[in-house]
């Protein structure tokens, strides 16, 4: 970060790096505060970690392909499933949704930027810092790969690091890493809420917002309220391990179950943090390719909000086997059944949207339909867990693994892939190849079901989760082999997707997308592909839900669509004449500040004052320089006479 100090042209602020003004080229990516570039970086990082987490999953499946596997040791297996879960939840699911949201929320609500552009960049770099910190534990000699599961239950993860069940620094890297990632997701959530509430274009009332924006709003609120709870739980684990506090030490009267309560009070809203963006994505795709408005828009929105509220009241269904007592168990069983209602409502809304539409089976549409089917299976196996006797039987078996992979992979990831096929043409200006796309979809669907459907069976046969090997003759052998084959089909399908992206976009073999390749309904399709830095030359005036659609079509007396003569050409967009639009300036300091968190993390793990000094100084330098520099530099030769702003 210090290599960029060039000649100081604006010498009035000597202790600050020169303001970066470049908005193109490689270096501009490190200082950009353009929500679209940050969105692309979020998405790319999430995709990279999807490959990393997928590689960990493949190793797990190789180990379990047959009885008494010898691919990895028990200790390595613990590290693999811990890092797989942590990666997929915190480094794939959440950043992927935040990335798509970053790119499209401002455009969908007719804004030129997010509310806090530098905070937006900071959130991304904090997630990067947390990821680098977590994965630096693999460096030989550190002896600290997290190995206590993605949930890090106490007292296993909680014993002092010198003597205990988990020696080494594994849980320390895990607790500190998750706290960092929590800081990143909280800042981005605050940014989303303020952007959505404050920066909507004229006429874009809340009930005219695209459903994806609505779902991201609910997700952002869940994140803001869920993250501090896990942070507190992790701080207590960290203090127990490093400073000998007794929070979760049963011998001193501490209650390990308190950790489970805190963890799942975060963890269950987290489930909805992961799945609601997927629901939002398919709610955008299905109407476009059915050429019908979303069926029951208000019901879908309110169901999403209901899920957001009810999501806080179901956490103990993760703990039915811990002996909570009949009253608590009954209450949480009922609330778990209840939350299935708004979820089920949405499924019927999506089906009714497709019903009697002019369905175009594009790849994006196939993935969305796949989402509905797979998510329904996952939802059904999920609501089974409200039946307490059955849940007690299924707890810690592969049945649970099957359930949440149907929700998170069959739900979120299929929606994300659909979203890629739908939106990447807007992001990069090139269409993805449909033939490869359909191959991608069908291999993904087949591989996914081969991998995860048999887990229902072996789970009900009694195969425990997190077991690193199993004996032959328990009836699990064949299904486990099938699962491993399925996992490799998923891997192959992912490679097809990457090939498609590289060939269509990087090698520019894809057809030029144009502004509106899908005959879309929402505002992002009024802009050029990719949109200009300022998104809209003129801020659009919104007059209806599905604003762009209403600019293009009207209905005749019998309800048939009639194209309007203007064809939406008057809808504001990047194609108009060049305006002089002054956007917020790039900045180094989000990156500098976030970089300070990594040494602070090592300082916490090793209790080292050297690391503490480095981290604190970097952080404070970034913070003060950030606070002092103006969000927007005055323009060098600004055409309208503007009074020079004091540099506050």
């Amino acid at each position: 970060m210090t290599t960029v100090t060039g000649a100081l042209t604006t010498a009035r602020r000597p202790f600050i790096l020169r303001r970066p003004m470049k908005t193109t080229g490689v270096s501009s990516w490190f200082t950009t505060i353009d929500h679209k570039k940050i969105g692309i970086m979020y998405g790319s990082a999430a995709l990279i970690f999807f490959l990393v987490g997928g590689l960990e999953a493949l190793l797990i499946r190789l180990q379990l392909a047959g009885p008494n596997g010898t691919v990895v040791s028990a200790a390595q297996y613990n590290e693999l499933f811990t890092m797989h879960g942590t990666t997929m939840v915190f480094l794939v699911g959440m950043p992927m949704a935040v990335g798509i949201g970053n790119y499209f929320i401002p455009i969908m609500i007719g804004a030129r930027d997010v509310a806090f552009p530098r905070l937006n960049a900071f959130g991304f770099y904090v997630v990067c810092a947390g990821a680098i910190f977590l994965y630096s534990s693999w460096i030989p000699g550190i002896n600290g790969v997290p190995n206590g599961g993605w949930f890090g239950y106490t007292p296993l993860s909680d014993t002092p690091m010198t003597a205990g069940f988990l020696p080494g620094h594994g849980p320390d890297f895990w607790t500190i890493g998750i706290i960092m990632l929590g800081i990143g997701s909280t800042t981005s959530a605050i940014n989303f809420i303020v952007t959505i509430l404050n920066m909507r274009a004229p006429g874009m009332t809340l009930m005219r917002m695209p459903v994806f924006v609505w779902m991201m709003l609910v997700v952002a609120f869940l994140t803001v309220f869920a993250m501090p709870i896990i942070t507190v739980a992790l701080i207590m684990v960290f203090f127990d391990r490093s400073y000998g506090t007794l929070f979760f030490q049963p011998a001193a009267g501490g209650d390990p179950l308190l950790y489970q309560h805190l963890f799942w009070l975060f963890g269950h809203p987290e489930v909805y943090i992961l799945i609601l963006p997927g629901m939002g994505i398919v709610s955008e795709i299905l109407p476009v390719f059915s050429r019908k408005p979303l069926f029951g828009y208000a019901v879908v929105v309110f169901s999403g909000i209901a899920i957001g509220f009810l999501g806080w009241g179901v956490w103990a269904h993760h703990m039915f086997a811990t002996g909570l007592g009949p009253v608590a168990i009954s209450a949480f069983a009922v609330s778990t059944m209840l939350i299935a209602v708004p979820t089920g409502v949405k499924i019927f809304n999506w089906l009714s949207t497709v019903w009697r539409g002019s369905v175009q089976l594009t790849t994006a549409m196939l993935f969305s339909l796949g989402f509905i089917a797979m998510f329904t299976i996952g939802g059904l196996s999920g609501v089974l867990h409200s039946v307490v006797p059955a849940d007690t039987q299924q707890t810690d078996t592969y049945f649970v693994v099957a359930h949440f992979h149907y929700v998170l992979f069959g739900g979120l990831m299929l929606a994300v892939f659909g979203g890629m096929y739908y939106w990447l043409p807007k992001v990069f200006g090139r269409m993805l190849n449909e033939r490869l796309g359909k191959l991608n979809f069908w291999t993904m669907l087949i591989g996914f079901n081969l991998t995860f459907f048999p887990m229902h069976f072996v789970g009900l046969y009694g195969m425990p989760r997190r077991t690193y090997r199993y004996d032959s003759g328990l009836g699990w052998d064949v299904w486990n082999l099938v699962e491993t084959i399925g996992a490799f089909i998923i891997a192959m399908s992912t490679l097809i997707f990457l090939t498609n992206v590289i060939v269509s976009i990087k090698l520019k073999r894809g057809a030029v997308a144009g502004n509106d390749p899908w005959d879309g309904r929402t505002l992002e399709w009024t802009t050029s592909s990719p949109p200009p830095e300022y998104n809209f030359a003129d801020i659009p005036e919104v007059e209806a839900r599905d604003a762009f659609w209403h600019d293009k079509y009207t209905e005749d007396d019998e309800g048939r669509l009639v194209p309007l003569p203007s064809g939406g050409a008057d809808a504001g967009g990047g194609g108009g004449q060049q305006h002089h639009i002054h956007m917020p300036s790039p900045s180094f300091y989000p990156l500098v500040m976030a970089a300070g968190l990594i040494p602070l993390g090592y300082a916490a793990v090793y209790r080292s004052f050297v690391w503490l000094g480095i981290g604190a100084l970097t952080l404070l330098y970034g913070l003060y320089a950030w606070a002092i520099e103006p969000a927007t530099e005055p323009e060098p030769e600004s055409a309208p006479a503007r009074t020079p702003e004091p540099a506050v």
């Binding site: 509310a115 909507r200 803001v224 400073y243």
Partner: protein, 218 residues
């Protein structure tokens, strides 16, 4: 806060002023971005302290070893430091009123007074911690030691961050770089400061004043 804002006729909040890249008009909610963002952060922080306080309540009276609250707490002393912290909210409001009148001299005085009152509170907390430690309570003594020190310690860290923030504003004001149009910066710091005070009212009530159950020390 709202009434003070209404008297602010001249100085538009900084984030609304000027740059055409942003929407120069009012936001959709009428609350500036910065203020809404701060409210959300504080809402998040509520859950942070809520989880700590819930933990403290769960573990109240469970200890069978070590010294407990009944031996340690000096309610008159902590009441005095609590009162000092609460008074700092008053000086904070006066600081905001001063910058909204563009009275930078008084702004500096009240910012400094707020920071000093906060520092007095922290000094009291340090004294209390060392005193408890001398009487045999530390992080590892019992559940009370763990939950008391960590809960109040994180509150103290929040107050300390607030003091640094106030002193930074004071430094800016002294160099003439904080004027009436930046009043929102002071207002945001004030929101944080009042929040930290309110959290202390809850902690003081729940941890110190609510009668202690259980066998400890009785």
């Amino acid at each position: 806060m709202a009434t003070i804002e209404q008297t602010n006729e001249v100085g538009a909040p900084a984030s609304r002023g000027g740059s055409p890249g942003h929407d120069p008009h009012a936001t959709a909610t009428g609350v500036t971005n910065l203020k809404l963002g701060m409210w959300l952060f504080l809402a998040s922080d509520c859950l942070f302290f809520g989880a700590f306080i819930a933990t403290y309540l769960l573990y109240r009276g469970r200890d069978t070893v070590g010294v407990g609250p009944k031996e340690l707490f000096d309610i008159p002393f902590t009441s005095a430091t609590s009162f000092i912290l609460l008074m700092s909210s008053l000086t904070m409001v006066l600081a905001l009123a001063a910058i909204q009148r563009n009275d930078i001299r008084r702004l500096r005085i009240w910012l400094l007074a707020t920071a000093l009152l906060g520092a007095t509170f922290i000094a009291g907390q340090v004294f209390e911690f060392t005193e408890f430690n001398r009487e045999g309570l530390n992080l590892t003594t019992n559940l009370f030691g763990s939950s008391f020190f960590v809960t109040t310690g994180f509150h103290g860290a929040h107050v300390t961050a607030g003091i640094i923030w106030l002193m930074s504003l004071w430094g800016l004001a002294s160099r003439g770089r904080l004027t009436q149009k930046d009043s929102e910066r002071v207002e945001i710091a004030g929101l944080y400061w009042h929040f930290v005070d309110v959290v202390w009212i809850v902690i003081f009530t729940v941890v110190y004043l609510v009668p202690q159950p259980g066998p400890t020390g009785s």
